[in-house]
Amino acid sequence: MPLVKNGKVVDDPYVRILDDAAIADDTSVIVPAVRLLADAGEFVQRAGATGVLWQNDRNVSELSPHLDRLALVALVFPNFRDGRAYSQARILRERHHFRGELRATGQVLRDQFLFLLRAGFDAFEVTKFTDAAAFVETIHRYSVFYQPAGDGQAPAFRRRLSKAGTSRPIIEYLRS
């Protein structure tokens, strides 16, 4: 499954370890929520980056005490029609000010890229290669957004009130 970051398909520096196997200190690793919460001390001081895979039916605010030690949070779309992780993403970004990598996993399809981006995701385990290749083109489909989300795009009503405002191209925002 191709990983897209900054508009490009990239190699994944993270290893998923979903059981109790030992983890080398300098590995960038993604572990399931149960493991992180069972022994947060295991992950407090590591050379490698730590990420967590958080299921979509669990309250994401439980992660809040651990966020400053997490480089990555992976949220799940068990199928693309199950939109719970959009709320989780916004809560993590906008309420808890999580600044690390927010990764979309599960069934991640092209026609949801822009919603995902606006909800705060910046990394995407894309289900189909053809979709991954079309990422940049897809996210430029729209230049007008009606509502504020955590992505900083000025919603239409703000732009109307300050006619001088123009929306920033999304790809620049990704880099900043």
Binding site: R81, S87, Y146
Partner: protein, 552 residues
């Protein structure tokens, strides 16, 4: 009505391009039906029995004459020359080809029309009272906030994959013509004790398999808090609404399961974290939207001008129509005119492309170019000068749009039913047609008085069968069409569900049974203006049951 600016036009144009790309990828097989279906639903494209159906949003039921002409053109060019107005103020075309849809949407976009979010698990068309902005009993025009909510909920990145569809309605009048108590969120603009105007917020109402009247979650919400509060409700629903069973996935189930107090507490906890943020509505935002709402330049006219008085005394048919189809306007000298789309023998709520063009012309001439779509599947010309009523009536009469049956027994609301819809158990339209024939006599209809019959072909209640006075629901028994009849519901501020009359009745007997029910009502009512629903409330269904089932 609201005039699109560049931002609105750009968004719709971008949406058309995206959909064109999606259709191309579907037709080539790059997208499977499973992947495509939610995308086409979010543009209002259903697959029905015979063909695709396109549902076009008519925001808060307000259309310009140019928009109606565009709909007529699309009916002629891409469909079979007619359209169907629905109970949620939308329009449906029943014969559109998928391969034509991108072009159809491009044509619609030119007129500021689209099918966005008229289907799918997202926030649907925000509906309001068809007399919004013109009714005498209104404190403010609710369409301003309907527009603010429409923009907020359009392509909302967080709420495009909700557990299920989400319907919001808003009213600002004493008499609730928007049925806010049977919506997922109902909003009632009113004045509080301190004289401030704000919203009563009602949540968890709905019809269908498990009908509920909504509960008040917040008795008074300030205007500035509307978007943040709605956002909080949606966020709680998005996270906790059931996703394991589509029949238990609406917010009404969540509210019922948690109880209103616990649900309100969840919403409030969420709301406290966002209420003073970016969603706070400042007065400048409201003023900006109001500035793009185009209101008529009313003349200073008096009520009951000479032209009207003379026509009323000279022409009995005009007088009958005037007393039935014309309502008071908040501006003196003007009137609200309802156009009946329920002529005898016709499918309720349909209009041909010729009728649409003619209505557009009449709207330009007599109604400042504006039309409204009602929940009862009729149309409204909202700003008619009283002196123009005789001429208007003559034109409407020529094209079969002046049947004086508004609110009467033959003004039936019916869903498309098994003749069109893949969800239906039974047909609705032929039942409605037969009933309009049985009750065609206008004198009898007037004697019967106000009585609402609604017909739904399945439990999903698109014909609003839970809240008509006399409601008919199609069910299937052993491959035959049967109909359950329920009496005594209402959808307004005194909303209540009703009571079953008795065993389901076969297709061939429905019209007879309804005639018996209506005859029983006329006999049993205390006085001529005791409404059917009041009679049922007073005496219960037993007396009706006796008469109907005695000989069956």
């Amino acid at each position: 009505m609201y005039l699109y600016d560049d931002f609105d036009r750009t968004l719709v144009a971008e949406r058309v391009d995206e959909f064109r790309d999606q259709v191309t990828r579907r037709l080539s097989g790059e997208l499977s039906e499973d992947e495509f279906k939610p995308l086409r639903l979010m543009n209002g494209v259903y697959l029905q029995l015979h063909a695709y159906m396109l549902r076009i949003a008519i925001p808060y039921g307000t259309l310009s004459a140019d928009q109606l002409r565009t709909l007529a053109r699309i009916a002629r060019r891409y469909d079979r020359n007619y359209g169907h107005f629905t109970t949620r103020q939308n329009l449906q075309f029943n014969w559109i080809k998928l391969s034509d849809l991108p072009d159809v949407m491009a044509d619609l976009a030119q007129a500021g029309l689209h099918g966005m979010q008229t289907s799918g698990n997202c926030v649907r068309n925000i509906t309001t009272d068809q007399w919004a902005g013109i009714a005498p009993d209104e404190i403010e025009d609710p369409r301003i906030f309907a527009e603010i909510l429409r923009q907020h909920s359009t392509m909302h990145p967080e709420f495009s994959f909700l557990p299920r569809k989400f319907k919001i309605a808003i009213t600002a009048a004493k008499h609730d013509r928007a049925a806010v108590r049977v919506h997922d969120i109902g909003l009632r603009l009113h004045r509080n004790g301190a004289g401030e105007v704000g919203f009563e917020v009602i949540v968890g109402g709905g019809l269908g398999r498990t009908p509920f009247v909504g509960k008040t979650i917040k008795p008074f919400l300030h205007k500035r808090d509307l978007l943040s509060y709605v956002e909080a409700i949606l966020r709680v629903y998005n996270q906790y609404g059931r996703r394991d069973n589509i029949y238990k996935a609406r917010i009404k189930i969540l509210v019922h399961d948690l109880g209103i107090e616990k649900f309100a507490a969840e919403v409030d906890a969420e709301w406290q974290t966002i209420k003073d943020g970016a969603l706070s509505i400042d007065p400048a935002l409201i003023a900006d939207i109001v500035a793009r709402f185009c209101y008529p330049n009313y003349e200073s006219l008096s009520d009951q001008p000479g032209e009207l008085k003379r026509a009323r005394s000279a022409n009995p048919r005009f007088e009958t129509w005037f007393r039935n189809s014309v309502s008071a306007h908040r501006v003196s000298g003007y009137a609200i005119v309802t156009l009946s789309l329920k002529p005898e023998g016709a499918p309720p709520g349909d209009a041909t492309s010729e009728q649409m063009d003619e209505i557009a012309t009449l709207a330009d001439r007599y109604s400042f170019g504006e039309i409204r779509v009602g929940h009862e599947q009729n149309l409204v010309l909202p700003h008619v000068a009283q002196r123009d009523l005789p001429d208007l009536w003559a034109s409407l009469d020529k094209i079969d749009l002046a049947t004086p049956n508004i609110g009467l027994v033959s003004d039936i609301i019916a869903c498309p039913g098994l003749d069109y819809c893949s969800l239906a158990n039974t047909r609705s339209i032929p039942v409605a047609q037969e009933l309009t024939r049985r009750f065609s006599n206008l004198d009898s209809q007037r004697e019967i008085g106000r009585l609402h019959i609604t017909i739904s072909g399945c439990i999903n209640a698109c014909g609003l069968h839970h809240v008509g006075h006399d409601r008919i629901l199609g069910v299937e028994k052993n491959g035959q069409e049967f109909y359950q009849i329920t009496l005594g519901g209402r959808a307004d501020e005194k909303a209540e569900l009703g009571a079953l009359l008795g065993p389901a009745v076969p297709y061939a007997e429905v019209a007879d049974v309804i005639e018996d029910v209506v005859a029983a009502y006329v006999e049993l009512r205390e006085r001529p203006n005791e409404l059917f629903v009041e009679t049922v409330k007073r005496i219960g269904v037993e007396p009706f049951k006796e008469r109907v089932y005695a000989t069956r």
